[in-house]
């Protein structure tokens, strides 16, 4: 996603605050998606090495979720959209201060 519409002043203020703090890209477990597929998508989207992608995939599998990337909101949204494009259950969570 490259652009975001304006919205209200309150929204813009809230977004300024949101943009200043990092966001977690979180992938959640689902009972259908293949483990090898998840690993491949992590490698493809983030450019992770296979070992790291597999470790994150196993974290999703065993713990139900994994923080797969942390950083600025705009990039986090780009990653979330890419992961959702491959049908991984992905949410965005602001890092608590």
């Amino acid at each position: 996603m490259s652009s975001r519409p304006g919205g209200s002043t309150e929204t813009r203020e809230r977004e300024k605050t949101s943009l200043a703090r990092p966001w977690n890209v979180v992938v959640h477990d689902d009972p259908v998606t293949l483990m090898d597929y998840v690993t491949k998508i992590f490698m493809q989207v983030f450019g992770y090495a296979k070992a790291k992608a597999e470790r994150l995939m196993l974290e999703v599998h065993h713990q139900g979720r994994s923080i797969v990337w942390t950083g600025g909101r705009e990039q986090a949204e780009i990653y979330a959209q890419q992961l959702q494009a491959y049908h991984l259950v992905t949410t965005l969570e602001r890092v608590e201060s």
């Binding site: 959702q84 259950v89 949410t91």
Partner: protein, 176 residues
């Protein structure tokens, strides 16, 4: 069903009528407007309602276009299924440039089958399948077949996928 690696992509042959039915359903499944499917293919991203609405306005629309183009790609390849030699079965070629789209479409179709048939997580792992209806058994068999095609495209399979049956007791899909 057999498969072979060609310079141009992956070739699947001797496609049974059951497997063909399963494959031909993929474009319909991934564009289903059933709320259960939509909920899974367009999951909530933000906890905050306003952020979620904005996400749906932007990313949601882009995803919708992407899924529609994927549906066209899969439908096009399915329309090119041939029976090169009479009586030797049908063959499907998935060209390499289409493999990524197919992988995602197969995943979406599996998720849609799961949602539409009210399957349960335990059944994917082989637990308490005696409670499944015949329709659910068929759906699970189809999910397994599509998983096997995914495994081929992922380069993880060395033996041919089997046609779906309504008795998915031996689930080797290794689902997440």
């Amino acid at each position: 069903m057999w498969f072979a690696r060609l310079d141009a992509g992956w070739l699947f042959g001797d496609i049974s009528p059951e497997a063909l039915t399963t494959l031909e359903a993929v474009p319909l499944l991934i564009t289903s407007r059933d709320p259960r499917v939509l909920k899974r293919l367009y999951p909530e991203t933000y906890e905050d309602e306003e952020q979620e609405r904005e996400w749906r306005r932007n990313a949601g629309e882009e995803l919708k276009h992407l899924f529609a183009s994927r549906e066209e790609l899969v439908r096009g390849d399915l329309q090119r299924i041939r029976e090169p030699l009479a009586g030797r079965g049908k063959v499907l070629l998935i060209p390499d440039p289409h493999a990524s789209g197919w992988l995602a479409a197969l995943n979406a179709a599996r998720l849609a089958l799961y949602a539409l048939n009210d399957l349960e997580p335990g059944w994917m792992a082989g637990v308490e399948r005696e409670r499944m209806s015949p329709q659910q058994r068929t759906a699970l068999a189809r999910i397994r077949l599509l998983a096997e095609l995914q495994s081929v495209l992922l380069g993880e399979r060395t033996s041919p996928p089997e046609a779906p049956t309504a008795d998915p007791e031996e689930d080797a899909s290794g689902d997440d």
